[in-house]
Amino acid sequence: MERPLQPLLEISGLHTGFDTYDGRVRAVDGVDLAVHAGRTLCVVGESGCGKSVTARSILRLVEDAGSIDAGAITWHGDANDGTGEPFDILSLDPRGKRLQRLRGGDIGMIFQEPAASLLPLRTIGAQLVETLRIHTGLDKKAARARAVELLDAVGIPDPKRRIDAYPFQLSGGMCQRAMIAIALCANPSLLIADEPTTALDVTTQARILDLIRSLQAEHHMAVMFITHDLGVVAELADEVAVMYLGRVVERAPVDELFADPKHPYTKALLASVPVLGRDRGRDLPTIPGAVPSPLHRPSGCSFHPRCAAAVAGRCDTDAPPEVDFGGGRTAECVLYETEGAST
């Protein structure tokens, strides 16, 4: 598999936390990830695993409620196209021009609830034109013409008329298309999609995924796709990162992850999902218990209380080693410490 030496975006040692009445929640607790140009990274995990907070940390959208305590988020986009040096997004001035250009310019983002992320009192056209004018410097008339083109490109029928529609006049699928049009209007090199199809029907989901795939091929855009749905992962991903309680527990190219999952959590997760044509009428294997609150993170490996393969005296006391199998595969688990290179 060819992969460029330099990733587009590199996250290392990211820690993001929130203060609550019950204490500090370490939502993201040491995450390393890399997104490569033109490829799709799926981040998969259950609620509370820190996948959304990781994504929001990239654009520094968490800092009102929480704070990024440590780590670096390096943007190589400028270096890759020869216009500048790599820089750490976390060291940017939060009110500065570069961060503003990054948000919606270099990096587009779409969210789970399309209708809730659009402004209800402004037409989708007005919201598109505003973004276009900020990031491309087009005048009003040209921006409107471009907005119609974009709405057409994301498959909104009759874009000349729909451009003046308010979000409530459009279905969920149409709102998500409008969101995608806004996210794409400055030709970003990276699209971050945070569960963009979770609130949609399967038939609408199929069309939105199809749209993201074709736009990606057209613009050679990188996609970081956050989801809890393993079916969507199989369909879309090149690389997959599995998260559990604030950490990436396994990382692999998509085919290898499904064919040969390493981490006990990944294995259990894959087994417990009913699959069309496989699990008719039979009891499903389960993972005991529930995801613990990040306030009460278990000691040692945070998955050990639910893990069938946990080693007493080891998994409940020591942090698991990260084992590198080579070829972009890693797993945080003692079961593999004799294989590969531990770090």
Partner: protein, 342 residues
């Protein structure tokens, strides 16, 4: 089949959208338009379809939370829709509902004892130590420790709350449970636990389920039979195996092809059907088949005129046999899902 436990006959539910000066309804949304359905005792019937297809309205009309505009809900041979509220009351204990969202469906100011015991307390059926014993027994049955009886819902995870929801539904020994998307809001790793629990309780207590869901993988796992709804009508009704292996309504086929399969080897397994977004206006249903405008098999002149009936195969059981609402049902060869043993 044996006598059905529940029959729905030509059920219509319409919601007023606009009234004129005199308070007369001038525009109505047709949520459920002529549904016929029969459930055999002990089976799990799934109701699937996209949001807005009327599946939840149908479910709440069956439990009596929503009034039918016309048609009948018949339980054990008795028409519930014809009964007065008073006469219907005892039957409310026999048909119970489990809701989708385990966070908003439990009163945060009640303890589990109050929530689960409420139906018994309200009717005065049990009190004191008998009440306590029955609540404890029910909690154990759904996999909750009775030690938690005096805690509040906020202390529990989504999966545990859904167990509370199930306990509350089952404490009055119902025979039929309408479960509206009971696992949709749960984490993937907890979903399997609740599906297995529902299966276990059904075997133990002989329950009949009407399982409302948009998730075809979950439905295939749990249901004996499936009714596919589109635009307020049932468009296909069949046992699970035949429906998934060989759908006969183009909408069923499209719905199945849209489900992402967690196996990258099957990526682009050909035949994904992308439906255009054109949903008909529920206040002004089109003539003919409501799906025709999105259907790749539609034929002008046949699919867009008249009323297309839900037709049952000639040899099939008149109440439960396979039925399809499509004029081309015998001409088309549609794609299902092949079974692959794991």
């Amino acid at each position: 089949m044996t006598d059905p436990i529940l029959e729905v006959r030509d059920l219509h539910v319409r919601f007023p959208v606009r009234r004129n000066l005199l308070g007369r309804t001038t525009v109505e949304n047709h949520a459920v338009s002529g549904v016929d359905l029969a459930l055999a005792p002990g089976e799990t019937m799934a109701l699937v379809g996209e949001s807005g297809c009327g599946k939840t309205t149908l479910g709440s009309t069956i439990v009596g939370a929503q009034r039918a505009t016309s048609g009948e809900v018949v339980y054990d041979g008795l028409s519930l829709t014809a009964m007065s509220e008073r006469r219907r009351a005892p039957y409310r204990r026999q048909i119970r509902m489990v809701f989708q969202d385990p966070f908003s469906s439990l009163n945060p100011r009640f303890t589990l004892r109050q929530i689960i015991g409420d139906p018994l307390i309200a009717t005065g059926e049990a009190r004191g130590s008998e009440l306590e014993d029955r609540i404890a027994e029910m909690m154990r049955r759904v996999g909750l420790s009775p030690d938690y009886m005096d805690r509040y819902p906020h202390a529990f995870s989504g999966g545990q709350r859904q167990r509370v929801n199930i306990a509350r539904a089952l404490i009055v020994n119902p025979r039929l449970v309408v479960a509206d998307e009971p696992v949709s809001a749960l984490d993937v790793s907890v979903r399997a636990q609740i599906l297995n629990l529902l299966r276990e309780l059904q075997a133990e207590l002989g329950l009949t389920y009407l399982f409302i869901s948009h998730d075809l993988s979950v439905v295939e796992n749990l249901a004996d039979r499936v009714a596919v709804m589109y635009f307020g009508r049932i468009v296909e009704l069949a046992d699970t195996a035949s429906l998934y292996e060989r759908p006969r309504h183009p909408y069923t086929e499209a719905l199945m092809s849209a489900v992402p399969i967690p196996d990258p080897a099957l990526k682009g397994r050909g035949g994904r059907i992308l439906l255009p977004d054109e949903l008909p206006d529920p206040a002004d249903p089109p003539p003919g088949c409501a799906f025709a405008r999105r259907c790749r098999h539609a034929e002008a002149g046949r699919c867009d005129t008249g009323e297309i009936p839900l037709e049952r195969d000639a040899a099939a059981d008149p109440l439960t046999g396979r039925a399809v609402r499509c004029v081309r049902r015998d001409e088309l060869d549609l794609q299902g899902i092949a079974v692959t043993p794991s």
